[in-house]
Assembly symmetry: C2
Homo-oligomer: 247 residues x 2
DNA sequence: TGCCTTGATTATCAGTCGATAATTTAGCGT
DNA sequence: ACGCTAAATTATCGACTGATAATCAAGGCA
């Protein structure tokens, strides 16, 4: 009801959005675009700050004000879940399923092609950090992703390896076999963590590192599986493949 | 000035410190004890909530009031660093140095003993969570721990393996060799992450999982090192051990 | 027993957080 | 050109954060 609220409004705008100085006329995006922008910038923010990153800082990255977020997401928690979905569920290339199961190609080459391509997709600072933040937060979506990895990658590795090695098929891989597949997965994964999370000096040729890891893994399990089949726990020596059931 | 402020005080105390109901007379600890208690409970809190865990919640766990924290630590950040120190720097058993370097024992057995004992120390929910939180926060203390692992564990594994395999000694392990050692470390580490961070069903016999991983690793690298020595990059095939220098 | 050091408490501040209600205004359809 | 829908803003709330100053009181020492 008083004169000149004009000047004050102008100043408030400048202070509120210093991140994007030039494009001041950004207004009225379609709901779809706005929502996508929120999710994308939120992924960037949460990757750096964790899910505790502020909604105001997020709004600044978009050049809008903070309450606008709540026109598109009922709560911050729901934004987080959508970020999570966009980062994880949409990055699986269906091609990989076919690749891993293609018995016309030797298992060695299948695994090399898969892991080189798969790590191209997930070995980014953003993906790895959000993955770890989500794990620490205990989101159930994270557990579901792990189960996905277990079913779509690791179980297949065991099944396909056994097939190529001429070992008898099983209904389900033994727990000890799954642990060996996880050993491979974890060993490769940690390369990405060292490089992109810790920023350490690593051997830069990622595909060569993967190839070496696969050499070690496949040579290693071939000897292990061979002995376990040959002696069938005749010795008291560790027998790997025998199932003790999952806990 | 009125009767019964007694009741109100009583209620306030109960609301403020519900964590430790019976010992209400806890007062006047020596500075040393109090400080240790703060660090220990802070480790528990930060492991669950991350370093964003509140100072009031921490005080509640101790049954004291929040400002008391600032008699022992100038700021929360400094408390975090002391927590970090107590969790990481004090858990290395000097015995492990001798164990890894003891050439009277076969490398296979040295590694098994070491990793079984080492993982007994670090495979706890608290250690793993603080380790990952610290990594995401980018604390330089974390980088220093990684370098420690690299020097005290991984370099030694390569050196000792090469010695036992009769390979010529090097001034420094090749970058590709360090990557293989990291592959082992990461593969074992991920077992702890799956169990204690994600709470997944794993094969419960940790020492057997480690033994299997070592079988695979040692068998694998023995073949790899042998071929690389035999053919010296005669083929165009990948040669592992040749150094390309660290980035 | 009474004092005095110091551990511990109460009261409080300034800043930030997620979220809500009311208001403004951009831009399409007529 | 106007008007209406809805995108975006301003203003604000209550809860919670780390931190400070002033006050209280436990317990060793005389």
């Amino acid at each position: 009801m008083t004169p000149m609220p004009r000047m004050k409004t102008e100043r408030a705008r400048k202070l509120a959005a210093p991140a994007t100085p030039p494009p001041q006329k950004q207004k009225r995006l379609s709901p779809g675009e706005r929502k996508r922008d929120f999710i994308q910038k939120a992924a960037e923010l949460f990757a750096e700050e964790g899910f505790g990153g502020g909604t105001r800082e997020l709004a600044n990255k978009l050049g809008v004000t903070q309450p606008l977020l709540y026109r598109y997401f009922p709560s911050k928690e729901e934004l987080i879940e959508e970020v999570y979905r966009s980062v994880f569920l949409d990055r699986w290339d269906p091609e990989w399923d076919a690749l891993l199961a293609d018995r016309a190609v030797p298992i060695r080459e299948r695994l090399e092609r898969f892991y080189c391509s798969y790590t191209d997709a997930i070995f980014t600072r953003q993906w790895l950090r959000i993955y770890l933040f989500a794990g620490l937060k205990g989101l159930d979506l994270n557990s579901r992703y792990i189960e996905f990895v277990q079913e779509r990658i690791l179980t297949r590795i065991i099944v396909e390896y056994r097939h190529e090695a001429g070992l008898p098929p099983q209904e389900k891989p033994a727990a000890a076999e799954m642990e060996l597949a996880w050993f491979l997965q974890g060993g490769i994964f940690y390369y990405g963590v060292r490089k992109h999370l810790y920023g350490l000096e690593v051997l830069e040729d990622k595909d060569r590192v993967i190839a070496n890891a696969l050499d070690v893994f496949l040579e290693g399990i071939s000897r292990l599986f061979a002995t376990s089949v040959r002696m069938r726990s005749a010795y008291g020596r560790r027998s790997v493949v025998r199932d003790e059931g999952a806990a």
